[in-house]
């Protein structure tokens, strides 16, 4: 509880006490008035002051003004009727303040809950100077410095381990509770918690560029991108309050004047003014205005607890409408770790063939090239390679030890007019030709992620109509993966540019619902941007993914996609519930108030009660573990 909240709570309790005392003392006239005004002013003086200030600044329709007019009006009626019944005026003010207090408490509480969830900001870093550990601000650590992380501490900056090994708890980043074992030469990401060993880490990034800073920045700015529901509500609130206030004025004046003009008896001024005052109490838009952003905020918080970062409420809204999910294959549905499985049709020694291939591919960072280099297993002398020429999507032609080596897929062989032998094995086939003569091929295959099949099934269960896979890989591999996973459509042998075109075609075929693209963010940035919503996988360490995607899955688990969709749907369901519930109850109470059925008490419920219920409902969005 903040100081402000404590003070308010004391005022509320004091006012209730004074009110009970006033009710117990039998009194009439001016004494009674004064007795009841004490609790009224104790609880509501600030509202009255704010209302006056508001009028001076030309802000007539704010809630303080409404409450001031409604309560002062009710007191006025009580004086005029000489009923001495001030209860309603005090109750309205009291309940209004209780409602405000509850709202500020609930919002503060969920704000703290969510920020605790994201409490991954490291406050310090240790560096070793002359054998002694010195504590420094992580901002001041330069790239390449060796930092020391002890058990129980957070890794403050991204880097590579140069000494020690430990189990890292990555739960704050990925939602994954299983610790990760790391040792020398492993890359570590800031924000992980070292559980048991002392680590010496050579930093590879500055603090501001480290994963933890980027994630925090992203999350802190997340709910600033407003969703359409939020825009709708703020526009609605702008119209709603003035409309209700003007209606209240009409209600107070028009029916009595009409009765007077027709001359059919008592104009019943008191009754109509009372009804108008109940209108004013109902007119406060706070339940709506608070519950919608709070629902989104809680939804985003809940998602980040599950290892899913959502960049804005608008994305959560779009995600809930997704009915088509397009996947990139490599790194998304498969591990992206390739292994050389076989070498076929070779005339020369297999190891020598591999050596030529590895040398030709030595400059490439492509996962396939890396697997060939890994299979070769020896250090590569790049001086032996010259005239490297890479054709994107086809392969590489280079001169190795004076021989022209062409390494790539069948398209490359066709373009160079080399006869090649097709392979029956499932996998990526890399053909090799030396000096224009075919020398055989290497079969490389990738593993499907263990949760991939489950992920597709889960998506289908949550109502995704179409699952599509796009890949640059050959048809045989693509079809095989798609069949194993149960995907609806496959497009294979696509060049990077083709993927964008394919997504555009799919987008134009889309009649209703939205299209999500899931990629690993390494070379999918344009596609991630083009889809209705871009989801990047395994973002730990990939800056491109964090920037290009709208939603980032912190670990490599494709199962999180359906979870993210379910979280978004739950959040949106809560948002709609709140909109319908709050507007509905208010409208019903307005009608009942106009007809004279609803009294001030019901009006208080329509205002404060609805707000409390809407806030409680909004907080439900935070609980996502069972989804």
């Amino acid at each position: 509880m903040s100081k402000k909240q404590k003070k308010m709570l004391i005022r509320i309790i004091a006012s209730v006490g004074l009110f009970i005392v006033a009710s117990l003392i039998p009194s009439t006239g001016i004494v009674r008035f004064i007795l009841f005004m004490i609790p009224y002013l104790v609880v509501g003086y600030d509202i009255l002051i704010k209302a006056i200030k508001g009028i001076i600044n030309g802000q007539v329709f704010d809630e303080c003004f409404l409450m001031a007019v409604a309560t002062v009006g009710a007191i006025g009626l009580a004086i005029m009727e000489q009923s001495g019944d001030y209860t309603e005026a005090i109750a309205v003010m009291l309940f209004y303040q209780i409602g405000e207090w509850f709202q500020s408490y609930a919002v503060g509480k969920s704000r703290r809950n969510i920020s605790e969830l994201m409490d991954i900001r490291p406050d310090y870093a240790h560096i070793e100077i002359d054998g002694k550990l010195e504590t420094v601000d992580p901002d001041e650590v330069e790239v390449g410095t060796v930092i020391v992380v002890q058990p129980g501490e957070k890794v403050p900056i991204d880097g590579v381990i140069i000494d020690g090994n430990a189990a890292l708890n990555t739960a704050a980043l990925t939602g994954e509770s299983l610790p990760r074992e790391v040792g020398i030469d492993d890359e570590v990401i800031s924000g992980c918690i070292d559980m048991d060993g002392v680590l010496h880490i050579k930093t590879t990034k500055a603090f501001g560029e480290s994963t933890v800073s980027k994630i925090l920045d992203l999350v802190e700015n997340a709910s600033s991108r407003k969703s359409r529901s939020e825009d709708f509500i703020s526009k609605f609130a702008k119209i709603y309050t003035p409309t209700v206030c003007i209606s209240a004025l009409f209600l107070a004046v028009v029916p009595p004047l009409f009765t007077l003009m027709v001359g059919s008896g008592d104009p019943l001024w008191h009754q109509w003014i009372y009804r108008a005052l109940t209108f004013l109490v109902i007119s406060c838009p706070c339940a709506l205005v608070i519950s919608i952003p709070l629902s989104f905020f809680a939804g985003i918080g809940g998602a980040s607890k599950a290892g899913v970062l959502v960049k804005g409420s608008n994305y959560l809204e779009t995600l809930s409408k997704v009915n088509t999910v397009v996947f990139d294959k490599t790194g998304t549905l498969t591990e992206g770790v390739f292994e050389v499985n076989a070498i076929h049709h070779n005339t020369m020694d297999a190891d020598q063939l591999l050596e030529y291939a590895a040398l030709a591919e030595s400059a490439s960072n492509h996962p396939i090239s890396k697997s060939i280099q890994k299979a070769y297993g020896q250090t590569i002398d790049r001086c032996r390679v010259s005239q490297l020429h890479e054709t994107s999507g086809n392969g590489i032609v280079a001169v190795v030890d004076g021989h022209e080596v062409a390494v790539g897929n069948s398209k490359l062989m066709v373009s160079k007019n080399i006869d090649y032998i097709d392979c029956h094995s499932v996998g990526t086939i890399i053909h090799i030709a030396i000096d224009g003569t075919y020398q055989g091929h290497i079969v490389i295959s990738d593993r499907i992620k263990p949760t991939a099949k489950q992920a597709i099934t889960a998506l289908k269960q949550s109502g995704i109509k179409k699952t599509v896979m796009l890949t640059g890989d050959n048809r045989k591999v693509a079809d095989n993966v798609a069949k194993q996973l149960g995907l609806d459509q496959v497009y294979s042998e696509l060049l990077p540019g083709d993927k964008v075109n394919k997504v555009e075609t799919l987008l134009s075929e889309q009649q209703e619902g939205k299209l999500a693209f899931v990629g690993d963010g390494i070379n999918d940035a344009p596609v991630l941007g083009r889809a209705d919503i871009g989801i990047a996988m395994g973002a730990m360490g990939s800056d491109a993914a964090i920037e290009a995607a709208d939603i980032v899955l912190m670990d490599d688990d494709p199962l999180k996609i359906s979870k993210a969709i379910r979280i978004s749907r739950k959040t949106l369901a809560i948002v709609y519930e709140n909109i319908v519930f709050a507007i509905g109850i208010k409208l019903v109470c307005l009608v009942l108030g106009a007809l004279g059925i609803a009294n001030m008490w019901l009006a208080i419920f329509a205002d404060v009660g609805v707000m409390v219920l809407a806030v409680l409902n909004a907080i439900r969005a935070l609980f996502v573990s069972k989804l």
Binding site: N57, D62, R111, S224, C286, V289
Partner: protein, 72 residues
């Protein structure tokens, strides 16, 4: 140029009003007030001095919601 400021305000509708008031201040291209994180993100027009603009933003916000605070 974008800058983020910490704010203090009690109700969500008041936060919306502050956003509106800030948006209509000279030198402000766009502004978002995030009630949940209590932050105001101001996008300034080119070539203006954020300090003088922010002084006006504070003045305008105080007009619509007396009980608000912007930490410059």
């Amino acid at each position: 140029m974008k800058k983020t400021y910490k704010i203090e305000v009690d109700c969500a509708n008041c936060a919306n009003k502050m956003e509106d008031a800030a948006k209509h201040t000279d030198g402000v291209k766009d502004c978002t007030v995030n009630f949940m994180t209590l932050k105001m993100i101001v996008d300034f027009e080119d070539g203006v001095d954020p300090k003088t603009v922010m002084a006006n933003v504070v003045k305008n916000c105080k007009k619509v919601e007396d009980d608000c605070e912007i930490y410059l």
